[in-house]
């Protein structure tokens, strides 16, 4: 379970996030929607431990972030908005590279399985030769190597073809169902959120956020 | 119509170049100043060496551990000799006093005559003179060593002659008498050696308008400086990792040729300003008296030099090689251009085999005529070769940019 308690973020005097509270249960898929600059990326980065809130706290399965940052990070999978891959390496080498540096040991077979599950079949191809959709898939696959309990995706389907988008979304749904992963997802696209998410949070309205579920 | 577009693109690019230079307002002065400082240090040293220094003399102590009449004489001689040399002042010391004097900064260095010094010499054994320098005055220590080396040469030549005399004298004389003869001979040979510079009757011939090498060195350093500036500016203005931007500009009809022209014009403008202002300073400082015609010749020579140099570098950048290799090639090209220009090593010292050919190198051609005009007061320069170079490089750039355009 992910608990967000009274989380506030200020840049100077400007409140980007003001006293946000919500809880997300195991296996839930939650979408964050909002205008540009509304604070959804900020919230996602706070949840990803890349930024700390001005006040308030975040707990993942009862572990407060600020006290157990290392343990928390082990449980997080973060998919950045930019493609964070080694362009010169093949799909396989990218997977193996990050497996070596991760907390877990995986066989090549297991790594390949992650990719096949999301229809990424160009195992030996160099990343620079992949299509945008395939790069997005690999971007996601790498974040799943250590089987995170909390998966954070920052606009993971920006600028890709419909087919890849459907495949990625199908995979994420399956993931939350099978392994109980908490998935948080930012997007501009309401229809995508509706299709994938159990509930959605609108950020940027007054008051600062809106729980669609509670409406 | 198309012509018009080309003009507009080039002028936009030139403006862009200047904007980028403005963005580097901090590093630009640094890039321009650094070579001045480095070159003037080197230039100062060279001039200081060529025109013997007349500064505060170096104070040298002599510690004589041998204590024979002969070494006493030698020490006395060295004291005398040093009086005729401006830059060294020799006094004799006791060992302990010398160490103290070094510590008290009264001495810059001292040297030992070891025990048995003279008798070892007579026996033809090797001897070592030890120079001890002040820790903060290494330079002076080395000058002292040079002085001692000289004295050493005199002693050495006296030694060989004295051994010759002794070889024969040993059959005729013995004991006291022989020693006395040898001592007299040593003294005589030592004086003989001291006077060796008199063997030459020296005539200095003045071949340029100025009787000191200062003008030559200044012009040479100026020439090197202009080259280094040009190279640094080229690197700063060089387009790199700009691919995304480039794609967009190609849509507006931009080609490599436009870029090359813009770069050439930018470099020419900046370099001409730099060259004129630095030359004006030199002109003022050295009080050269050049006529207007001569100044025009110099301006044209340098303008063509800058033009050809920049074009050469653009052509190298057209080669299908990695950035690193191209940089190395450019750097080597610059070194070659400077080395054989005559501004770093005077052409008279070049190998015989390249003496004739090197005149066809544009840098050598330019520098030779600069020398002719500035140092020898000539009212003439030849430009045919430089025009030829310019045409060839314009041709190469045009061809190169077309080929690159095709490949893209």
């Amino acid at each position: 379970m992910l608990e967000i308690r009274e989380v506030t973020k200020k840049y100077g005097r400007k409140h980007v996030l003001d006293r946000i509270n919500f809880q997300i249960m195991r296996g839930e898929v939650v979408g964050l929607i909002g205008e540009n600059g509304a604070g959804k990326s900020t919230l996602l980065q706070i949840l990803a431990t890349l930024m700390s809130p001005t006040s308030g706290q975040v707990l993942l399965y009862q572990q407060p972030y600020h006290k157990h940052i290392k343990q928390v990070r082990k449980k997080i999978g973060y998919v950045p908005q930019d493609i964070a891959l080694w362009e010169q390496l093949s799909v396989k080498d990218n997977m193996v590279f990050f497996e070596k540096l991760s907390w877990v040991n995986r066989t090549e077979q297991q790594l390949k399985q992650i990719c096949t599950d999301m229809q990424l079949n160009q195992w030996k191809e160099k990343v620079k030769n992949l299509s945008g959709g395939m790069k997005r898939k690999l971007n996601l696959a790498i974040s799943l190597i250590h089987e995170p309990e909390l998966l954070l995706l920052d606009e993971p389907t920006v600028g890709i073809d419909l087919k890849s988008r459907v495949e990625i979304n199908a995979y994420l749904k399956e993931l939350s169902k099978q392994k109980g992963t908490i998935i948080i997802y930012t997007s501009h696209d309401m229809s995508e959120i509706k299709e994938l998410c159990d509930r959605a949070l609108i950020i940027g309205d007054d008051p600062f956020y809106h729980d669609i579920l509670n409406q | 119509m198309k012509q018009m577009d080309g003009f507009r693109i080039v002028s936009v690019l030139i403006r862009n170049n200047f904007k980028r230079l403005k963005g580097k307002w901090l590093s630009l002065p640094l890039v321009l100043l650094a070579p001045i400082i480095l070159l003037s240090v080197i230039g100062y040293l060279v001039i200081a060496i060529v025109e013997q220094p007349t500064q505060e003399p170096i104070h040298v102590g002599i510690v004589n551990l041998d204590q024979t009449d002969q070494t006493h004489l030698l020490v006395h001689l060295m004291e005398e000799v040093s009086k005729s040399i401006d830059y060294i002042d020799v006094t004799s010391y006791q060992e302990s006093d010398a160490e103290a004097a070094i510590a008290a900064e009264q001495l810059d260095a001292y040297l030992y005559f070891p025990r048995q010094f003279f008798s070892s010499l007579l026996r033809g054994e090797s001897v070592q003179l030890e120079v001890v320098g002040h820790p903060n005055k290494r330079l002076e220590g080395q000058l002292v060593q040079g002085f001692v080396d000289n004295i050493g040469d005199y002693i050495e030549s006296a030694q060989a002659n004295i051994l010759t005399v002794d070889y024969y004298a040993s059959t005729l004389l013995a004991g006291e008498e022989r020693q006395l003869l040898l001592f007299e001979q040593f003294q005589s040979f030592f004086f003989h050696a001291l006077a060796k510079d008199q063997a030459l009757q020296e005539h200095e011939v003045q071949i340029s308008l100025y009787n000191s090498p200062l003008v030559y060195f200044t012009i040479a350093i100026w020439f090197v400086l202009i080259t280094i500036w040009l190279f640094s500016l080229y690197i700063i203005l060089h387009k790199h990792d700009d691919r995304r931007m480039k794609k967009r500009i190609i849509l507006y009809g931009l080609t490599d040729l436009h870029e090359a022209i813009a770069l050439l014009i930018t470099l020419l403008v900046i370099m001409i300003v730099l060259a004129i202002s630095s030359f004006a300073l030199i002109h003022y400082w050295l009080q050269l008296s050049l006529a207007t015609d001569q100044l025009w010749f110099i301006a044209l020579l340098m303008g063509l030099y800058i033009f050809i140099f920049s074009e050469l570098f653009i052509v190298i950048d057209y080669l299908p090689l990695s950035q690193r290799l191209k940089l190395i090639i450019q750097m080597l090209a610059m070194v070659g251009i400077l080395l054989f220009s005559g501004a770093t090593i005077p052409q008279v010292y070049f190998p015989m085999s390249i003496q004739d050919g090197v005149g066809y190198l544009f840098s050598n051609h330019v520098f030779t005529w600069l020398e002719q005009i500035i140092l020898h007061g000539r009212f003439h320069a030849e430009f045919a070769l430089l025009y030829g170079y310019s045409l060839i490089s314009i041709f190469l750039i045009s061809i190169g940019s077309v080929i690159r355009g095709r490949v893209k």
Partner: protein, 379 residues
């Protein structure tokens, strides 16, 4: 640890040819370059002209001695031709041996035996003059010694005991055999004498220049890598990016040291150019860490490479300039404490430089940690 190394090797594997090239360039380049440099620099000679008005033995001997010096290129001219060439700056200096040279020496004359002409551009004149006067001095000295011996014999009424040719021959032998008087410079308070005229270790000089360049180039991947988005992923990995980089630095250092080991064997044993292993080690660590830090500071790969090349060019300049003038070279050497290669070329281990870069590395490590801390706080 092992896994970090494997991960790094996976990244390096992409550029393995380029890395191999830069790794071996210093050694191979040195072995190829040095003979070439030696050949070329042998050809940079000081051109001097000699005018012989008499063909006597001593005049010929003087000419031969000067001609044998390997730094000058001597040509014999008629007086007019020589002077006109000097005027056109085609000769450094001209020496005129007038009629009666030998006779005057035999009469014990010392003044104005030879006429010398030089110009304000004759840079090498002091050097050549020294050589000419020394040669004359040796010749006149021998003649003087012979006349002293003859005089001695006459004084003992044995005037025909030795003839002067015989004495001159003996003098020549003794000249060859007489030992060298050497001088040594020590700095007060230091034990080791400063190497006289720093024997040029040409192989190590060329090697160290090439090696500095290639080491700088071997670290330029850092500039591209550190600005990539991939860096973000290290937040969720076993190791931070700075640890990963530090590990890579160590790996590169070990690889470089292995190559250096071989270089050491080849140059020290095979070429006989002595250098202590500590000197090599301290240089290697210093330059590797220096390159690493420089690459961390630089943002643009092209400018980094341009800086690297300019730096090496500057090193080349201050370490090789003014070959013609030995004294000038020394003078420049001694006022250039700035020369970072000074210690290496004098075969000292430079602990000061090493300390500096290690402190730099520690600062970087601390600052990089701070970067993540800040990143968490703001952004």
């Amino acid at each position: 640890m092992m896994q970090l190394c494997i991960a790094r090797l996976m990244l390096w594997k992409q550029h393995v040819l380029s890395y191999l090239f830069w790794l071996w360039l210093p050694l191979i380049g040195t072995l190829l370059f040095v003979p070439f440099i030696e050949d070329v620099s042998d050809e940079f000679l000081v051109p001097i002209g000699i005018v012989l008005e008499e063909e006597t033995e001593l005049a010929q001997q003087l000419y031969q001695t000067i001609a044998q010096a390997d730094t000058v290129n001597v040509e014999q001219f008629e007086e007019q031709e020589a002077i006109s060439r000097l005027n056109r700056n085609q000769l450094d200096s001209v020496y005129l041996i007038r009629e009666g040279y030998q006779e005057r020496i035999e009469h014990g004359e010392q003044r104005y035996l030879v006429e010398a002409y030089y110009t304000e551009h004759s840079i090498a004149y002091p050097y050549v003059k020294e050589m000419v006067t020394s040669t004359i001095l040796a010749d006149t000295g021998k003649v003087k010694a012979a006349s002293a011996v003859v005089g001695l014999a006459e004084a003992h009424q044995q005037s025909d005991k030795w003839n002067s040719d015989e004495i001159l021959a003996t003098a020549e032998q003794l000249y060859q055999a007489s030992s060298i008087l050497s001088t040594d410079l020590t700095i007060s308070g230091e034990d080791r004498p400063i190497a006289e005229h720093d024997e040029p270790k040409l192989y190590w000089l060329v090697w160290v220049l090439l090696s500095t360049l290639s080491t700088l180039f071997l670290f330029d991947w850092i500039i591209t890598e550190k600005s990539q988005h991939v860096r973000l992923r290290f937040q969720y990995m076993k190791v931070s990016y700075r640890c990963f980089l530090l590990n890579s630095l160590m790996m590169m250092l070990i690889i470089l040291l292995l190559v250096d080991g071989l270089t050491f064997l080849v140059l020290n044993v095979y070429r006989g150019e002595q250098l202590s292993i500590l000197t090599l080690f301290s240089y290697r660590v210093t330059i590797a860490v220096f390159s690493f830090l420089l690459a961390m500071i630089w943002k643009n790969r092209y400018f980094y490479q341009a800086t690297a090349i300019s730096f090496v060019l500057w090193l080349t300049l201050i370490n090789s300039s003014f070959k013609i003038e030995g004294e000038a070279y020394q003078l420049i050497q001694s006022v250039m404490p700035l020369n970072p290669l000074r210690a290496f070329l004098n075969d000292h281990a430079s602990w000061r430089g090493l300390m500096l870069v290690v402190i730099g590395l520690a600062l970087w490590y601390a600052k990089e940690g701070g970067f993540y801390a800040r990143n968490k706080g703001s952004n």
